[in-house]
C-alpha cells in the first residue's frame, strides 16, 4: 500500500543527516553541561556550538537564545515571562485571531484571570493581519504584540517585518521601549528568512519538530535588553530563564536541522511551490471547492481547501485508507467539537470549516505523489457527497 505523508505541518520526520549529528550525544557525549569534568565539558561544547550556529543563522547573539522543550513552551515563556515581569497596573496585549492555541489559549486565559487586557485583531479573508489595524490597536499600556510568522492551518505568511517597523516607529514617537514584538515562527523556520534584525522582532519562537529536526526541543530568542522572568525554576540553566538539564542531543539536532533547512530553502521552496500549485489547481477542478488562505503569500508547502457538503474527518479516514495522510479543520475531528478557529476567522461559515482539508507537502513529496492524490481525492469526494444529505449553494461562500 502506498503511504503518502502530506501532514508535514503537524510534524516532519527526522532528517537522517540530523540524526547523524545527534547520535554521539546520546551515549558517547552524555555528560551534563553543568559539570566541570571533561564529560560535562564535551556536552557543553556541543550546546555552545549549536547556540552559536543558530544565532548566526538568525543574525542574533548567542546569549539571546533560550533552549526549551518546544514551540508551546517557548510561546508560554515569551508571553508569561514578559507579562509577569512587567509590574504596570494595566497590561495590554495585542494578538491575532488565527494564532496557534499555545498563544491564543494562554492569552485568553490571562485575560480571564484579569492579568492582562487583550485585543485580538481580526484578519482579512486571506488570513492577513492589517498593519494599520495593528497601529490603531496600540495603546500606551500595550506591552506585547504577538503575531505568528506563518499560519499552521492555511499557510498565510504575515507581514512581520512591516509590523516590526510600525512598532519601532510607535516606540520612537512615544519614547518607550514598549510594546515588545513576539512572533511564533514554528511553521516558518524551515522556509523563511529568520534574520531578527530584518524582522524587527524582540522575541521569536521556533522548534525542531516542523523542520526535520527532533521533537521535544525548541528555543526562544530574547533580544538583549528585553526582560522576562522564567516560568520554570531550578538549577538556573539558560541564564536562569530555563532551568533543567539541557536536552543536549535535541539542541544539537535543532541546530543541524536549522542549518540544513536554511541552506537548502531556496531550492526546496521552488520545488515545493511547483508541487503545491499543481496540487491546488488539480483539487480546485473538483466542483464546489474553495482555496483557504492566500494564493501567493503562502508557505510553499501548504494546500488548504474546503470541499463543500463533505465532512472532513470522514474524508481524512477515506484518504487514510488509500494511503494519503492529511488533516482537517472539521468540528467532528476536534476534541471540543469546535471547528477550526482559523477557517472561521477568515470569514468562512461553519460549513466550510467542516469540509476543509489540509495537505502539507515535504521533503519526501514527489510529483508522482501529487498525481496519485489528484487521482484519489475526486473519487473519495464523489462517494462522500453521494452519502451526504447536504447540498449547499456556492454563492453562500462568496
Amino acid at each position: 500500500m502506498k503511504s503518502i505523508y502530506l501532514d508535514n505541518a503537524a510534524t516532519t520526520p527526522l532528517d537522517s543527516r540530523v540524526l547523524e549529528k545527534m547520535q554521539p550525544y546520546f551515549s558517547d557525549v552524555f555528560g551534563n553541561p553543568s559539570s566541570f569534568h571533561a564529560a560535562g565539558l564535551a556536552a557543553k561544547k556541543g550546546v555552545d556550538a549549536a547556540r552559536k550556529s543558530i544565532a548566526a543563522l538568525m543574525n542574533a547573539h548567542a546569549d539571546e537564545l533560550v533552549f526549551c522543550s518546544g514551540g508551546t513552551e517557548s510561546d508560554n515563556l515569551a508571553i508569561l515571562g514578559l507579562v509577569r515581569t512587567n509590574k504596570a497596573k494595566v497590561k495590554h496585549v495585542i494578538t491575532s485571531a488565527i494564532e496557534h492555541p499555545a498563544v491564543l489559549e494562554l492569552l485568553t486565559h490571562l485575560q480571564k484571570a484579569g492579568e492582562i487586557e487583550l485585543t485580538i485583531l481580526s484578519v482579512d479573508k486571506f488570513g492577513l493581519v492589517d498593519v494599520r489595524e495593528l497601529e490603531k490597536a496600540l495603546r500606551p499600556e500595550t506591552i506585547l504584540v504577538s503575531i505568528m510568522y506563518a499560519n499552521n492551518e492555511i499557510g498565510t505568511i504575515e507581514p512581520i517585518a512591516d509590523m516590526g517597523r510600525a512598532l519601532l516607529k510607535w516606540r520612537k514617537t512615544h519614547n518607550t521601549p514598549f510594546p515588545y514584538f513576539h512572533t511564533d515562527a514554528c511553521q516558518a523556520a524551515g522556509v523563511l528568512d529568520l534574520d531578527v534584525e530584518k524582522l524587527h522582532v524582540d522575541l521569536l519562537t521556533l522548534n525542531g519538530s516542523k523542520i526535520y529536526g527532533p521533537k521535544g526541543v525548541g528555543l526562544l530568542f530574547v533580544r538583549r535588553g528585553v526582560e522576562i522572568e522564567p516560568i520554570i525554576y531550578g538549577g538556573g540553566q539558560e541564564r536562569g530563564l530555563r532551568s533543567g538539564t539541557e536536552n543536549v542531543p535535541g539542541i544539537v539536532g535543532l541546530a543541524a536541522a536549522l542549518e540544513i533547512a536554511q541552506a537548502e530553502k531556496e531550492k526546496e521552496n521552488v520545488r515545493l511551490t511547483k508541487l503545491r500549485d499543481k496540487l491546488t489547481a488539480g483539487l480546485l477542478k473538483i466542483k464546489k471547492t474553495k482555496l483557504n488562505g492566500h494564493a501567493t503569500e503562502r508557505l510553499p508547502n501548504n494546500v488548504n481547501i474546503s470541499f463543500l457538503d463533505v465532512e472532513g474527518e470522514a474524508a481524512v479516514l477515506y484518504l487514510d485508507a488509500q494511503g494519503i495522510y492529511c488533516s482537517t479543520g472539521s468540528a467532528c475531528a476536534s476534541g471540543s467539537l469546535d471547528p477550526s478557529h482559523v477557517i472561521l476567522a477568515i470569514g468562512l461559515p461553519y460549513e466550510a470549516a467542516h469540509g476543509s482539508l489540509r495537505f502539507t507537502l515535504g521533503h519526501s513529496t514527489k510529483p508522482a505523489d501529487i498525481d496519485y492524490v489528484l487521482k484519489v481525492v475526486p473519487d473519495v469526494m464523489a462517494k462522500l457527497r453521494h452519502m451526504s444529505p447536504v447540498n449547499l449553494d456556492m454563492k453562500y461562500f462568496k
Binding site: E311, E313, A314, L317, G329, A331, S388, P389, V390
Partner: protein
Amino acid sequence: MPNDSQQDNCDIVSRSGDQGWFYSDTVKDYFFNPRNFMRDEEAYKDAAMGLVGSPACGDAMKVWIRVDPATEKITDCKWKTFGCGSAIASTSMLSVMVLENSGMTLKQARELKPQDILARLGGLPARKIHCSVLGDKALRAAINDWYRRQGKLEKVEEEHGRIIDSVAKVTDKDIEQAVLEGADTLEKVQAKTKVGTGDPSCLPEVEQLIRFYREKYLGSSPKVEV
C-alpha cells in the same frame, strides 16, 4: 462499554495532532462499506422521511423508510449522512438492524436505543457517542412522518422536553444534549445550558439527571478530559 473502545491501534489524529482515537473493526467496516445508503432520492419521494441535525457538531442526517401498512414492519430503509466516521457507521448499522429478520415493527424500531447500535458497532470513542444518537433520532422522525402520512396522528410521538429550570427555560432534553456533547459535570453542563442560573433550586435534580445520562451514554465514571 463505549469508553472501552479507546485502545489498540491509533487510526487518526485530530487536526491539532494531539489526541488519537480508535474505531473498532466493525465501525470501520460499516463506514468504509456503508450499507443501504440512499442513491436515488427521486425514487423515494413517496417514502416517509426524517431529517435531524446535531447541534453538537453541525451535522445532518436523513432517514427514509417504507413500511408495510398491514404488519407495520419496516420493509426498506435508506439514509444519507453528513458527518464523521462514527455518524456514517452508526446510520449504516441502524439501517441494517431495522431491516434484519424481515424487518422491525415500528414499535420495535421506536424501542431501539443508541446503546443497541453502539453495542453492535463494538463501541465508539466517548466523544463520538452523540453521532450514534443522531441516526436514532432521524429514524424516530421518519416513523412519525409515516404515521402522519397514514393519517394516524394519534400514533405520532413528539419528544417534548420537561422544563427543569423554569427561569432559564432549560429542559431535560437540553441536559441530555449537553451530556452527549461531553459535559459530564454540573459545572460543564451549566457552562453549556446556564441551568440553575435563574433558579438554583433545581440543581439537585440537574445533578441527578447528569448522573442518569452519564450512565446511559458514557458509562458511570466521569471520563477523562479529552
